[in-house]
């Protein structure tokens, strides 16, 4: 049996996206969290002393990686060297080999895969371990690199591990890199596939294990939940993996039942109680607060201030180790009670019938504007729906006054 740590997508020192209104000091704290998570990885390795560590790409966030980030990464590797732990790195799309950034010399316990698929062998006790992998030679690798991985015949005493930074073919929610199919992976005959790129922790297959460990620290409110690494115990016929949390700050959501609330302080108290429970469970966190079952009184209560103000009230009263990212309200039944007039309905229907092109046309002033377009995420289905809802609300609210 061998034991190793599988991690990926460290995204050290990457800026946190979508955090508005956070004060500078808290941002700095937030920013530090990727390092803290990395520190957790290193510390865990130092105590558990695995046979080796796999890093399946995206150590840094991008080309403008900071020297500080690299220095801290290297320092961590040096500590692993002190502990006698070999490290295998296959770079991904965010830290590809073509970058013209300064490269720090890595300690000699570190093996970095080259731009072509290659195999590194190492002897661990009675096992011969063969690790297959490659590093992204450039930013975009859209070809299915899986083709280049050698097919092996399983041999007694030999364990094969594939490292691959990429996404499952047909998975459209993420940018497609080095696409592969499950069949292709299984076809290689390896004992373990150490994947990277997708930030959500998931096991795609269990036999052989094909695993995304997810990133080590959530960086966006869409990257919810506790993040960490996998510690894998691998045998020829069996694999066991244990999740080790590393994130120091967890993005999460709480649901506030507003069915019995009539006063702002009640709501605040309920929120804070939920928050402190949550902190107890997962530690410091960044929360989205979702209000559900909103009673008629609660509707009136919420109507007394803008949702931005409610969010600010929440932020002001909360503890230091929580930040409220957003505040949302469940669609109130009130609006169902006051149905749209025929005209309003026809107005809303207009939007529903718009095709993507029409949307683009409608929003061209901003979305096609040479200045602003580069900063905006492209219009997609989800956004269309959100816009229809938001615009519908604008019309309904205005006309039902």
């Amino acid at each position: 049996m061998i034991r190793f740590i599988h991690t990926a997508d460290l995204h050290l020192d990457s800026p946190f996206k979508g955090m508005t209104e956070m004060p500078a000091d808290r941002l700095a704290e937030l920013r530090e969290s990727t390092f803290a998570a990395y520190e957790n990885v290193i510390q865990y390795a130092e105590t558990s002393l695995p046979d080796f560590i796999l890093i399946a790409g995206d150590i840094y966030d991008g080309e403008d990686r900071s020297l500080r980030a690299q220095m801290r990464f290297v320092k961590g590797l040096e500590r692993l060297k002190q502990a006698g732990i070999p490290v295998f790195i296959s770079h991904g799309n965010h830290d590809h080999l073509a970058g013209k950034w300064t490269r720090f010399e890595l300690p000699d316990n570190v093996t970095v895969f080259g731009p072509f698929v290659e195999t590194v062998e190492l002897k661990i006790r009675e096992h011969l371990v063969r690790i297959h992998g490659f590093s992204y030679p450039e930013r975009h690798v859209r070809k299915p690199m899986i083709e280049h991985y050698p097919i092996i015949q399983r041999e007694q005493g030999t364990l094969d591990i594939g490292m691959l930074h990429g996404s499952l073919m047909g998975e459209e929610t993420h940018a497609v890199y080095a696409p592969f199919t499950k069949e292709a992976l299984v076809g290689k005959g390896y004992h373990y596939w150490a994947l990277g790129h997708i930030h959500k922790r998931q096991t795609i297959l269990s036999e052989p294990p094909v695993v995304y460990p997810g990133n080590i620290q959530g960086r966006h409110r869409n990257e919810q939940g506790v993040k960490g690494i996998y510690e894998v115990e691998l045998e020829e016929t069996h694999a066991a993996f244990k999740f080790v949390p590393t994130s120091v700050l967890v993005f999460d959501e709480i649901e506030v039942d507003c069915s019995k609330l009539t006063h702002a302080n009640e709501w605040l108290a309920v929120c804070l109680e939920l928050v402190s429970d949550r902190i107890e469970q997962i530690g410091a966190c960044i929360l989205s607060v979702h209000n559900v079952n909103i009673s008629e009184e609660a509707v009136q209560m919420f109507a007394s201030s803008t949702s931005r103000e409610w969010l600010e009230i929440l932020r002001e009263s909360a503890e230091k180790d929580v930040w409220f990212a957003e505040l949302t309200f469940e669609n109130t039944s009130e609006s169902v009670q006051l149905p749209d007039s025929p005209l309003v309905r026809s107005v809303k229907e207009q939007m529903v019938h718009w095709e993507l092109n029409e949307w683009k046309h409608v929003l061209k002033d901003v979305y096609q504007h040479a200045r602003s377009a580069p900063y905006l995420s492209p219009i997609n289905q989800g956004m269309k729906e959100d816009l229809i809802e938001e615009a519908g609300k604008l019309i309904s609210n205005e006309l039902s006054k």
Partner: protein, 966 residues
């Protein structure tokens, strides 16, 4: 949809009314005030809710107290027969919807049945009244057009407002070429952040070259340092060579000098040895000279004299010492006797009163016989007798004096006890007072009337009584009574005087009397006592005075007797003194002293004899002492005080004995000294020989040349040392040994090397500085997190930008949707409505007008059949109304499928002429095929136009439970 039945529980004037409506046309006819509008409102309010309180619309709550509200029974194509009940509850009323299948619903179901139409929307299409048509008159063309349009397309006005508002909001968020809208601001910030990021990223790019350069610099530094070391070595060597030059010269010179002095020898420790010998020589010489001197001295002493004779004489004197002592004692005892005798004599003389020497002579000459003594003794006894007599008289006199004194004391004591002057005065006054008092009492008791007369009578009576009393007192020897009588008489006298003086003062007198009574009332006894005491005192005093006089007489006789005796005594005394003086004795003496006096005189005479004898003896002793002294003087050769004589003699003897002993010791010493002198002389010789040998070793003849040789030797030694030192110095610069050349050459070489060294040093400094700055820079770059913060800020701004962009997008989408809807309305729905309206309008105006159309400015125009166009405002009132009705009805027709509601009209045709009215009714009859029509009118005639219609007389409503058909 049709309204089948109205059930009014209580609404305005109506209560408990059920009204059945028909398909087609139902006409509610009634006079003014009959309650038409109430029913009209009932329908609308049950369907769409009671108006809120304080609203301008009436609530029609029943005054009668019956239940507020009622039911509207509808039959709908979609829902079947539905009962809509609205009763009092929340402000809009509580609504219940009952379906024919038994299900019950509320507002939600009702809204569904009403196709989400609210009252405004309903009224704007399906219900119109004269009021609304009349209102048209006041509107200007613009408003009219909009009203026509908006009334046909519910809420469009609001939508248009909303669109404008959204556009405004959008403009606050973003403008294509704006600066201030939020997104523009953010865009600017984002661009700036990008620039900052670029700069920061470029800074990061400096890192690698910096690190490379750092390595290079390190290498260069190492090389340069090595070179510098070499140069330093060369420089040091040259400097040493420079230093060597003068040292070498010195060494050579010194070596030559040493060579010259090389033959000089000197015994080791020569000087010390010489000095030692010298010292020994001196010591020996000193011993010799000292010994010789001592020898001579002793010899001189011994030669001086022999003292044997004197010694013998002194010894002889010493033998006589005891004789001397005896003589001394004799002197002392004789002197002591003389002194004692003198004292005794002096004492006796003192006692005898012979203080002067002449008196001493007298005493020595006194006759000390016994007969003389007896004579004197007799005289003295006489004197003594007389004196004793005098004493007894003296005592008698003393006693009589004491008696007299005691009497005087008694008198004084009595005087002390005497009544006070006040008491005496009172005692004196009392008798008169007592009489006055009695008078007063009588006066007072007699009263005023008879007063003057009475008082006079009383006085006279008083005098009579006084006389009687006095007479009786004298006869009976009762002195007190006599006094009282006198007093009374006095009082009476006084009273007569007073009365004579102040006869008119009776009133005052009365007062006075009363005062008197008051003052003395109860004190009479006291005054009586005082009088008695005074009397007693006077008598006692008289008696004592008599006794005192007797005693004085006694005393005087005694004094006479004493005087006689004293004279006797004086004469006896005189006799005695004379006898004494005749015997040579000056002292006064009495009987006892006479014997003693004679004894003392005899003693004095005796001591005088003894004194003379002792004086003789002393003189002899002194002579012997003088002999002794002169003998001692001759022996000792000097004057000797008498007191220290033998002390000195003994001293002299001791001295002489010691001198003898010293002479003997001196002889011994002389022998010793002679021996020492011989020894030391031998030693001296040997030292001199040794010294000569030493000189020979140094090749010197005498001491001076010996020392010169030593100096030379010393010089040589020090030069040798110097030479060694120089050699050592040269050794330290051994590295420069090979370097030849003179001063100038060396200097030249050195300056060359130095300048090279400075160059390299400068290089090292520069490189070190560069390295420090590189280290600092790379370090700063490594720890710099400005870039991180900027990128985070950039991300934040981007997120914010996206959020606002979303806000903008939602507004843009909403506005666009509204615009498109509006466009749709204008382009598709409105033409259809207009087409339908044109047909109606043409019909209503009996072909006078062709059509209605919307102009580019958005206004309606009516096209006259002759081709003229009129703005709506230009039309006649009726035509205006017809245009309006046409539009309304066409709208209702157009909406038939979506909203098949009844058309409710409240007397809308009053301005129509007969022709047009019939056109209108005809049109409505046609419409009634598709729509339920409910008409409220006060014109009886109208119903006749619709024979098929159900006509209800509102005045009768409520009177019959079923409603009343006309």
């Amino acid at each position: 949809m049709k309204i089948e039945r109205l059930v009014i529980y209580g609404f305005g004037r109506h209560s408990n009314v059920t009204i059945e409506l028909v398909d087609g046309i139902t006409v509610f006819y009634g006079k003014n005030e009959a309650g038409k509008t109430t029913i009209y409102q009932f329908i609308l309010q049950v369907l769409f809710g009671f108006p809120p309180k304080n609203n301008q619309q009436l609530r029609y709550e029943p005054k009668s107290g019956s239940h507020y509200g009622g039911k509207v029974i509808l039959s709908d194509e979609r829902s079947g027969v539905v009962e809509v009940e609205r009763i009092r509850g929340k402000s809009a009323g509580d609504v219940t919807v009952r379906f024919s299948d038994g299900t019950v619903g509320g507002q939600e179901e009702l809204s569904e049945i009403l196709r989400q139409y609210d009252r405004t929307a309903f009224e704007s299409v399906f219900s119109f009244s004269l009021f609304q048509l009349q209102g048209l008159e006041q509107m200007d063309a613009d408003e009219l057009s909009r009203t026509l349009l908006s009334s046909g397309t519910t809420g469009i006005d609001l939508l248009m407002q909303l669109e404008k508002q959204l556009e405004k909001e959008k403009a606050e968020l973003f403008k294509k070429s704006g600066k201030n809208p939020q997104m523009n601001v953010l865009l600017k910030e984002l661009r700036e952040l990008e620039d900052t990021l670029k700069v920061q990223r470029a800074k990061v790019d400096e890192y690698e070259p910096a690190v490379k350069r750092l390595e290079q610099v390190e290498q260069l530094l190492r090389e340069n340092r090595r070179e510098l070391q070499e140069l330093q070595k060369g420089s040091d060597k040259l400097k040493n060579a420079q230093l060597r030059l003068p040292i070498e010269a010195n060494r050579n010179k010194l070596a030559a000098q040493i060579d010259e002095l090389d033959n000089t020898t000197f015994p080791p420790n020569g000087i010390r040895e010489q000095e030692m010998l010298e010292a020994k020589k001196h010591e020996a010489e000193a011993v010799i000279s000292r010994s010789t001197y001592q020898l001579n001295e002793i010899r001189d002493q011994l030669e001086s004299k022999s003292q044997q004779e004197q010694s013998d004489a002194v010894e002889a004197m010493l033998v006589k010492e005891s004789d001397w002592q005896v003589l001394q004692q004799q002197v002392v005892s004789a002197k002591a006797d003389i002194a004692r005798l003198k004292t005794e004599q002096h004492d006796l003389l003192g006692r005898l009163g012979a203080t002067e020497s002449s008196m001493k002579e007298t005493i020595l000459a006194v006759d000390g016989s016994v007969s003389n003594e007896q004579f004197l003794h007799k005289l003295a006894s006489q004197v003594q007798q007389i004196e004793r007599n005098a004493d007894s008289y003296q005592n008698e006199l003393q006693r009589s004096l004491e008696l007299e004194q005691r009497t005087v004391q008694q008198l004084n004591r009595l005087e002390e006890q005497a009544p006070t002057p006040d008491e005496q005065a009172q005692a004196l006054k009392w008798p008169s007072v007592r009489s006055r008092l009695a008078e007063a009492k009588a006066y007072v008791s007699f009263g005023k009337r008879e007063q003057p007369q009475n008082s006079k009578t009383m006085i006279w009576m008083l005098l009579v009584i006084a006389l009687l009393l006095s007479a009786y007192g004298v006869v009976q020897q009762q002195w007190a009574l006599v006094i009282i009588g006198i007093v009374l008489a006095a009082v009476g006298g006084y009273g007569i005087l007073q009365k004579a003086q102040v006869p008119s003062q009776t009133d005052e007198q009365m007062n006075e009397m009363k005062a008197l009574l008051k003052a003395y009332e109860g004190k009479e006894e006291l005054f009586e006592e005082v009088c008695r005491k005074t009397e007693e005192y006077t008598q006692k005093k008289k008696r004592l005075k008599l006794i005192a006089e007797e005693q004085a007489l006694d005393r005087e006789s005694l004094q006479e007797d004493l005087k006689g005796i004293l004279t006797q005594k004086e004469s006896a005394h005189k006799e005695l003194l004379e006898a004494l003086q005749s015997g040579g004795l000056t002292v006064s003496a009495n009987v006892e002293i006479i014997a003693e006096l004679f004894r003392m005189i005899r003693n004095v005479q005796n001591t005088e004899r003894l004194l003379i004898q002792r004086g003789e003896e002393l003189k002899q002793v002194y002579e012997k002492i003088e002999q002794h002294l002169s003998q001692a003087k001759s022996v000792l050769g000097r004057d000797v005080p008498e007191s220290d004589l033998y002390t000195l003699i003994r001293q002299e003897a001791r001295m002489l004995r010691e001198a003898m002993l010293a002479d003997n010791a001196g002889k011994e010493r002389m022998k010793e000294l002679t021996r020492i002198i011989q020894e030391k002389t031998l030693e001296l010789h040997s030292f001199q020989e040794q010294e000569q040998q030493l000189f020979a070793l140094a090749g010197a003849d005498d001491k001076q040349s010996f020392y010169e040789a030593h100096d030379r030797y010393q010089q040589l030694q020090s030069m040798q040392l110097n030479l060694n030192g120089l050699n050592e110095q040269l050794n330290t610069f051994q590295d420069a040994e090979g370097l030849a050349g003179d001063e100038e050459q060396l200097h030249h070489l050195l300056s060359q090397v130095e300048s090279q060294r400075r160059d390299v040093e400068q290089k090292v400094t520069d490189l070190t500085d560069e390295r420090a700055s590189l280290l600092h820079r790379t370090d700063a770059l490594l720890t710099d997190d400005a870039h991180l913060l900027t990128s985070q800020l950039y991300e934040n701004k981007k997120a914010e930008f996206n959020e606002i962009a979303f806000e903008w997008s939602s507004r843009q989408a909403a506005a666009e949707a509204i615009r498109q809807t509006m466009a749709d309305l204008k382009d598709k729905k409105l033409p259809a409505v207009l087409e339908r309206a044109n047909v109606i309008f043409q019909q209503l105006t009996t072909g006078q007008y062709d059509s209605l159309s919307i102009q580019s400015d958005g206004h309606f125009h009516a096209l006259h059949k002759d081709g003229q166009r009129f703005a709506i405002a230009e039309l006649s009132q009726a035509t205006k109304e017809q245009a309006y009705v046409a539009l309304r009805l066409s709208l209702a027709g157009e909406l038939l499928e979506q909203a098949p509601f009844p058309i409710i009209m409240d007397d809308p045709f009053v301005h129509f002429d007969a022709g047009r009215l019939s056109q209108m009714t005809e049109l409505i009859s046609k419409l009634a095929k598709n729509h339920q029509i409910i008409v409220f009118t006060c014109h009886e005639t109208l119903s006749s136009h619709w024979p098929e219609a159900k006509v209800l007389n509102v005045s009768n409503v409520g009177k019959s439970p079923e409603g009343v058909a006309l």
